[in-house]
């Protein structure tokens, strides 16, 4: 028809600005935490997919630094909650106090009212305090005494956990673990990077020099574009094959839930976007598979001796097509 007809195209997924922003963010981050490129990418992916992150590792490998780092480069306001065994839900959510002047109860928001919350050593607290946090994470809101208080947006929780073999902990039950989109392990740095770490400046000081590379509103826009990454039918088939393998194979106590399937898809889409693509590839699913499934799968009784990594490696062998 006429040459003057305007185009009907939809808003482009993964515009050049987005990919530039994300690349810049990643490079800033890897200046602070050395040699952990993959972990940083996964943490950012988790954030882009609007999920919450669980980091499980020994103390002192940089869990807290990672949280500070994310808050810094993304320009989010940050709160840290140190979980202890005598903690009560009100210590997290906030409390209503009687105000004599107005003769009314007034809500004082707790530390959870921040865009990025670090829940440090979440397995030290009692299940009661833990579930207060997890419910707030799930609902994106806090309800006390019949009043609803919306949490800020974006809202992102990084919970850290010491390996449960240590003394005096309440490990999170599986149903609670399912609420975290990803579980990451930091691991020790390799020799070269550790050397750099030891020789260089204090990480906290490096952190202070960093500028925010993304604004919260840009982050929200990116989060909204993640589900628009194209997923072909062939990849849905592949994902379903993985899910049904987890449900049928003798290695696992329970299979992956539908929620786990959705979580994997979102993460894979965010991963594809982080890699500057508007479509999903099988490699994207494989890249996020360990981080999104290792806290959701328990080895069955017959295979109780099986290593976590080994358990996940079976999932990775599910044939493609």
């Amino acid at each position: 028809m006429s040459q003057s007809a305007p185009s009907l195209s939809t808003t482009a997924v993964n515009s050049p600005q987005n990919s530039a922003l994300l690349t810049q963010t990643l490079s800033s981050m890897s200046r602070v935490i050395l040699g952990k490129e993959e972990t940083l990418r996964l943490a950012l992916t988790c954030l882009m997919a609007r999920g919450h992150l669980l980091i499980e590792d020994q103390p002192g490998v940089g869990k807290t630094t990672l949280s500070h780092l994310l808050a810094r480069v993304l320009g989010l306001d940050f709160q840290r909650i140190q979980f202890t065994s005598d903690m009560l839900p009100a210590d997290i959510l906030g409390v209503s106090v009687y105000d004599q002047n107005s003769a009314r109860f007034k809500f004082h928001p707790g530390p959870i009212f921040a865009q990025l919350v670090l829940a440090d050593e979440v397995n030290r607290a009692t299940p009661k305090a833990q579930s207060a946090l997890l419910e707030a994470m799930e609902e994106q809101q806090v309800t006390t005494e019949g009043e609803r208080h919306l949490l800020p947006s974006p809202f992102f929780v990084i919970a850290t956990q010491n390996p449960s073999s240590q003394v005096g902990t309440f490990p999170l039950p599986e149903s609670q673990l399912d609420r975290f989109l990803m579980r990451l392990e930091m691991g020790y740095p390799d020799q070269a990077h550790e050397k750099e770490l030891l020789k260089g400046r204090d990480r906290r000081e490096v952190l202070k020099d960093l500028e925010a590379t993304i604004t919260p509103s840009q982050l929200l826009a990116i989060q909204q574009q993640v589900p628009q990454v194209h997923v072909s039918d062939a990849l849905i088939d592949y994902l379903q094959a993985i899910l049904s393998f987890s449900r049928q194979s003798p290695y696992y106590l329970h299979g992956l839930s539908p929620r786990a399937g959705i979580a994997m898809l979102r993460c894979a889409q965010a991963w594809a976007m982080l890699n500057d693509r508007d479509h999903l590839l099988p490699e994207d699913i494989q890249a996020i598979l360990p981080a999104t499934t290792n806290h959701r799968l328990q080895p069955s009784a017959e295979f109780s001796g099986m290593d976590k990594d080994e358990a996940i490696s079976h999932l990775l062998t599910v044939p493609l097509d």
Binding site: M1, S2, Q3, S4, A5, P6, S7, L8, S9, H230, S232, D233, A234, L235, D278, H279, L280, L281, P282, E283, Q286, L316, T317, V318, P319, L320, D321
Partner: protein, 641 residues
């Protein structure tokens, strides 16, 4: 460009009916838009200009029709508004609005014409519009026209079963769906309730079909083929009218003789309240009545094709006359046509017997130099006198009228019957076609002991008109292709066959498509056990859903086939690499596999990267084309290891 062309097509038939100014304006606006598209004029007109133009068109339409409502005015408005909309097309939404208005404009064509050629024409228009819509919605702009046309054809093919279901199953409403305004039926031809000398000869120039008749047994002979319409009694010496009868409608009977003739008539809409039947009808179709003139009357105007069965007797004897009828059958204006009246009285005195007077009159027509012509000279105030004694050139109504005047002057009750006579027999479809040019007028006289007797004075002048029909007699006048003089008899024969075949096709169209009404629908559906509207709706819904499902399944099947051909090509690729010791692991993704290949065989990098990119585009990206699959297949085939 496509849009303008298809709109022009939708608009073209309307130009014949719309006022010249409106057509010209529409074309002007179209040209304007055309020049904008061509970049000769760059900007669209200002809003104020458009408002002024709108007011102008409103005034023009109002001046022409005296109203803004109704069919003709409404369509004029629609056409001009559509043309104006062309001048403010900016966004895609505007284009789409214009296209849908184009569909609407095309549909309005049906309000005038429902024939087979028009249906074919509308399919062309709809096809063009749909192709335009397809083009508008294509992602890569300006794709090749053939692709668009192919897609449109596919859409049409998919719509076809739905169309058939809706046609057969959608509940039909008896009578017209909506009542059209009165102007819908103006300017139509046909026999009317009055007659003046010259009115039928005008009609006789028309080739339009009046009705078609299918006989149960044999076709009736041409000289008995009189189709009865209005009966005219009253005259002022020039015009003939039906007059008012005081007789009640009861007691309509006659004594039939001979064997009955049964037949089915398919009457084209003539917008009058009567039906035509062979002289004389004995049965009455449902909803109609037979009056004392033996005319079949209907309660409402025949505005759509009507089909009815009748039985007639060509020999009959009607009963006596009432006093009122006697008086009306002898009525003559006192101060007109003196010579004719004197002649009639003279004959009666000489001959006494009414039968002898009738014979005398027929002889008079036969022996005097009367001629039968379609173009009789104009007659003045005493038309019968002028015709009988001066011009002596006339058409059937001249003979019928002057004969009736002569009879009444002689004291013999007489009246004029109008209707049709003759018709062409179509051997292909095995039915008789009666056209407007077969319109005829004849006389009836009442003779004691015989009742009304049909006398056709035209037969006395031009017997071949009655025996062979009007067409044969006036073939030079009917300037139609059929009368092209064929030197080759063989060709002529085939031409005739073609013509009859075409009419037979039209007849079937009328019978089965246009004539598919509530009655036929319920008859057809009850044969399949569908009796109520509810059942109809259920069957319709079920049929539509099943067709949608089938189409959906077909399309997913096709997708799967496409997916299969992509996978097959990739498998072929993997087999080739496995043969050089680089098998793809079952869970290995294409990118990982490519990297592994390149690591092992850096020399293969360009080809493998290309194949990988193509495969990813085909398999994991949203849109791809058949051509990309072909390229992938070719590249895999050409991969040399």
């Amino acid at each position: 460009m496509w849009l303008l062309a298809s709109l022009l097509l939708a608009f073209a038939p309307h130009t014949l009916r719309l006022p010249l100014a409106v057509s010209a304006l529409c074309l002007l606006f179209g040209l304007w838009r055309f020049s904008i598209e061509r970049r000769t004029t760059t900007t669209l007109p200002h809003r104020l200009t458009l408002t002024l133009l709108l007011c102008t068109t409103l005034v023009i339409v109002y001046l022409h029709y005296g109203t803004l409502l109704g069919r003709d005015a409404g369509i004029s408005l629609l056409a001009t508004m559509l043309a104006l909309k062309l001048l403010e097309m900016r966004s895609v939404r505007d284009y789409i609005v214009v296209i849908f208005l184009g569909y609407f404009l095309a549909i309005t064509l049906v309000l005038y014409n429902q024939t087979l050629p028009m249906a074919a024409y509308m399919i062309v228009v709809a096809f063009m519009l749909t192709a335009t819509l397809v083009n508008l919605n294509q992602q890569p702009k300006n794709r090749s026209i053939t692709l668009n046309v192919k897609l449109t054809a596919k859409l049409f093919a998919q719509a076809l079963p739905l169309m058939l279901i809706l046609f057969f199953l959608f509940p039909r409403i008896p009578g017209p769906l909506w009542s059209l305004p009165d102007d819908a039926h103006s300017g139509t031809t046909g026999i009317s309730e009055s007659m003046s000398m010259g009115s039928i000869s005008n009609l006789s120039q028309s080739n339009a079909i009046a009705f078609r008749v299918a006989f149960d047994d044999e076709v009736i002979e041409n000289n008995l083929s009189y189709w009865r319409g209005p009966v005219l009694w009253q005259t002022d010496g020039k015009n003939w009218l039906r007059g008012t009868s005081q007789a009640t409608q009861s007691n309509v009977s006659y004594r039939p003789k001979g064997k009955p003739i049964s037949y089915t008539v398919t009457l084209e809409p003539h917008h009058q309240k009567w039906l035509y039947g062979l002289d004389l009808p004995a049965t009455v179709p449902a909803g109609a009545t037979l009056n004392r003139d033996f005319q079949l009357l209907t309660p409402s105007k025949i505005n759509e094709l009507k089909r009815y069965r009748l039985t007639s007797y060509s020999e009959y004897e009607t009963g006596s006359l009432t006093a009122d009828e006697m008086q009306r059958a002898l009525q003559l204006p006192l101060n007109k046509n003196h010579r004719a009246q004197a002649l009639g009285q003279q004959w009666r005195q000489q001959l006494r017997e009414p039968e002898a007077v009738v014979q005398q009159a027929l002889q008079y027509f036969n022996q005097q130099p009367f001629t039968y012509t379609l173009q009789p000279p104009l007659l003045g105030n005493n038309p019968v006198d002028e015709f009988l004694f001066n011009t002596q050139q006339g058409f059937c109504e001249h003979y019928a009228a002057s004969f009736t005047v002569l009879m009444r002057a002689a004291g013999i009750p007489a009246r004029i019957v109008t209707g049709y006579q003759g018709g062409d027999f179509n051997p292909v479809g095995n039915y008789l076609i009666v056209r407007q040019r077969d319109a005829h007028a004849w006389a009836e006289v009442w003779l004691s002991g015989k009742g009304w007797v049909r006398i056709d004075p035209t037969a006395a002048v031009a017997p071949e008109r009655i025996a062979l029909g009007a067409e044969t007699l006036f073939s030079e006048l009917f300037n139609r292709p059929s009368t092209i003089q064929f030197n080759n008899a063989f060709l002529a024969n085939h031409w005739l066959k073609l013509r009859y075949g075409w009419d037979s096709l039209n007849n079937s169209w009328n019978q089965w498509v246009i004539g598919y009404d509530a009655l036929k629908q319920s008859q057809l559906l009850s044969r399949f056990g569908i009796d109520s509207i509810k059942q109809m709706a259920i069957v319709m819904a079920a049929a539509i859903i099943s067709i949608m499902t089938i189409l959906l399944l077909l399309s997913t099947h096709r997708n799967r086939k496409q997916r299969d051909s992509i996978s097959l090509a990739y498998q072929h690729f993997c087999q080739k690499l496995a043969s050089i010791g680089l098998p793809r692991l079952p869970h290995e993704g294409p990118v990982d596999f490519t990297q592994r290949i390149i690591h092992a065989r850096p020399d293969l990098e360009p080809q493998v990267t290309q194949i990988n990119e193509l495969y990813i585009a085909l398999k994991y990206r949203p849109r791809h084309t058949q051509q990309q699959i072909k390229i992938l297949q070719r590249q895999v085939r050409q991969l040399k290891l």
